[in-house]
Assembly symmetry: C2
Homo-oligomer: 361 residues x 2
DNA sequence: GACAGGTTAGGACACGTGTCCGCTATTGTC
DNA sequence: GACAATAGCGGACACGTGTCCTAACCTGTC
């Protein structure tokens, strides 16, 4: 025969009413204890606390919310959990908001799913919505308009140029000004672009920064840079993409002496491509990355890159959110620009002057 | 004088009652449309749908839940968002559950916060709770008991040995059997351990696997392995930790010819440490990592490692969760073991036989 | 033992929603 | 134009909670 069910004689406790019956008090009394109202005997308070420990009873968060007793919550849309900088921002932002008693709802959104995610956040009556990463601009603008229409503050992190959007983003233009000046200062005058092509605003900003720095040296984008992005697909990972681009660049008549990559992975891939063809970095050519991820310090040569200043970015984001939550919307969108930090390492060095580039045998 | 407020004449719509007034229908009629009940004229349905597009109205998710119309939700406790394998599992699990109409609540838990996070999940009446990463075993066991007491299924991913817990974890023992046999097959007989010390079950499992493989070759852990973990703190990052350990190993009388690291970062750090001292990897010594992260392919030499088979792990996790959610608890905990995959790359090669190790000048 | 003051009981309402039900208004058919 | 079928209306209740209110209870004091 089956063994007797132990400790399961009582019915499950699903409400304060059930719980009050268990304690032997009125539901309203229990509720007053839970909400710390005055005029209660210590003995009663203790009795309720003890029963809570025994049963592990928790009030229904949904009913609580319905009564307006909600703690604020933040909806976070993140483009992907596979890009380390985005995850870092997400993690730090969640931590910063949590200490301010704001919980975070995290959703990874694919391009088609944005609308339903925002609807879900609206349905959950979040206090604000944050977008981390890069999204379809028109779509994003629509979602932001929808949020504003409902009086819900928003914040776009990383993506600039969305009309009417509160934005916190790295000054990518300035980042490229500094990077280009750094390379110019090392004597480089011809630049290979790795993954730096296309229409996204973030790339246009960076090219514009390059153009500005080049102009200061009497050079132009057209005359001094070369892009071979069209020769290879980016499928198969950024590492492979960078490696393939490097090979193609070595087949060009005048091989550039400095290479500027969209991100660190592509830069590392390119370095591998060059090394496999018998070239040395930085002796034969310089290569720079972007984002200053951990891998920059792990590869040989260590990689010159641009630090996104993630901590400062998220701090600014948290400040804006706190200021907006619970306050009337203002007419002009808040836009904060984060200053980048150039981190020079081994992969960029003085340009070759006369020695001809050794090509692979 | 202030400009007239545009488009804000109507009061905000906060409930189906407000919304029904806006549409010009009865609240119950609107509700029937929203829930797809029969007996409605197409014209009415269209009118409601159009009004929803105009206003962006969404029903209050909390009131919905209160009525029992909830979609299931999963509470995910993750140790940290800064360890790539954990984030990968999190991302894939969320995706797998989402297609099954289960939403995910993600919380990063610090050691002291575990209890309050679980209480919060209980309060939100989640359908199940998943733990990803490594936690305090006693604490975790207590939380699992609390969940079981409330009839809520749980699943522990990665951490083995928690009594009574449903578990999905890599067979770390077998992983080390294979890694050790691989190195033995290359002629190595003395091993340096990098970060592989301490009491956690995951480390003990791995050492036990090493011991088994060594025994097959007539060797023992005591006679053939060396650990210098006690000489350096792990603060300052795993890369630095590995580098420092490498330096210390080079000062030892009989330097091991093969090094086995706790993870890929430590292995890469150690390779740097060896290279900086003038040693070559793998010619002078072999180094292996663990986790098969992206960096394994980015460093030179590329790093031999163990793949965690994350996709298979998460698939097993999702299967268990789906089976448990909404079903009566079973007596015996479900335990699934995932088979690791050894990935050999350039960093491990045949052991030196006679050539003396070149020490740094 | 009576009385005042402090505590608790329990009824009521509200929050926003789904659903049931009886009733009315509209529509369609011959 | 009469009738039946159909569609929408609006009241009611429930979900679990906080809060207010009044009545009843307990406790301590003289």
């Amino acid at each position: 025969m089956p063994p007797p069910t132990p400790h399961r004689t009582a019915k499950p406790i699903r409400s304060t009413a059930d719980f009050a019956r268990y304690v032997g008090l009125a539901r309203t009394t229990v509720s007053r204890v839970l909400n710390g109202q005055p005029g209660l005997k210590q003995k009663t308070i203790d009795k309720v606390r003890r029963a809570m420990d025994e049963t592990g009873f928790t009030v229904n968060a949904y009913a609580l919310h319905l009564k307006g007793k909600r703690a604020g919550s933040l909806g976070i849309c993140v483009e992907s959990l596979f890009t380390p900088p985005a995850v870092a921002k997400l993690a730090i932002l969640q931590r910063k908001m949590r200490v301010r008693d704001v919980s975070s709802l995290i959703e990874v959104v694919d391009p088609e799913g944005m609308k339903s995610v925002i609807r879900s956040f609206l349905s959950l009556r979040v206090s604000a919505v944050v977008f981390i990463g890069h999204f379809n601009e028109a779509d994003l603008a629509l979602r932001i308009e929808e949020l504003s229409h409902h009086g819900i503050p928003h914040l776009v992190v990383d993506q600039v140029g969305v009309p009417g959007a509160n934005t916190v983003a790295l000054d990518r233009r300035k980042a490229m000004v500094e990077m280009t000046r750094h390379l110019l200062g090392l004597g480089h005058v011809s630049f290979g672009l790795l993954g730096l092509s296309g229409t996204p605003r973030s790339i246009q900003d960076r090219l514009s920064g390059m153009a500005e720095a080049l102009a200061g040296a009497g050079l132009t984008l057209e005359g001094s840079t070369l892009s071979l992005d069209h020769l290879h697909p980016r499928t198969g990972g950024d590492l492979e993409f960078g490696r393939a681009l490097a090979r193609s660049f070595l087949a060009v008549k005048r091989v550039p002496t400095a290479f500027v990559a969209l991100n660190d992975e592509i830069a590392v891939g390119a370095i591998h491509g060059f090394q496999e063809a018998g070239c040395r970095v930085p002796e034969d050519m310089s290569v720079s990355g972007f984002n200053n991820q951990d891998i920059c310090k792990m590869v040989k040569p260590t990689l010159t890159s641009v630090d996104q200043q993630i901590e400062a970015t998220v701090e600014a984001a948290a400040e804006i959110l706190i200021a907006k939550i619970g306050h009337a919307p203002v007419r002009h969108p808040a836009v904060r620009t984060i200053q980048p930090l150039l981190v020079t390492r081994e992969s960029t060095a003085r340009a070759r002057t006369s020695v001809a580039l050794r090509l692979r045998g």
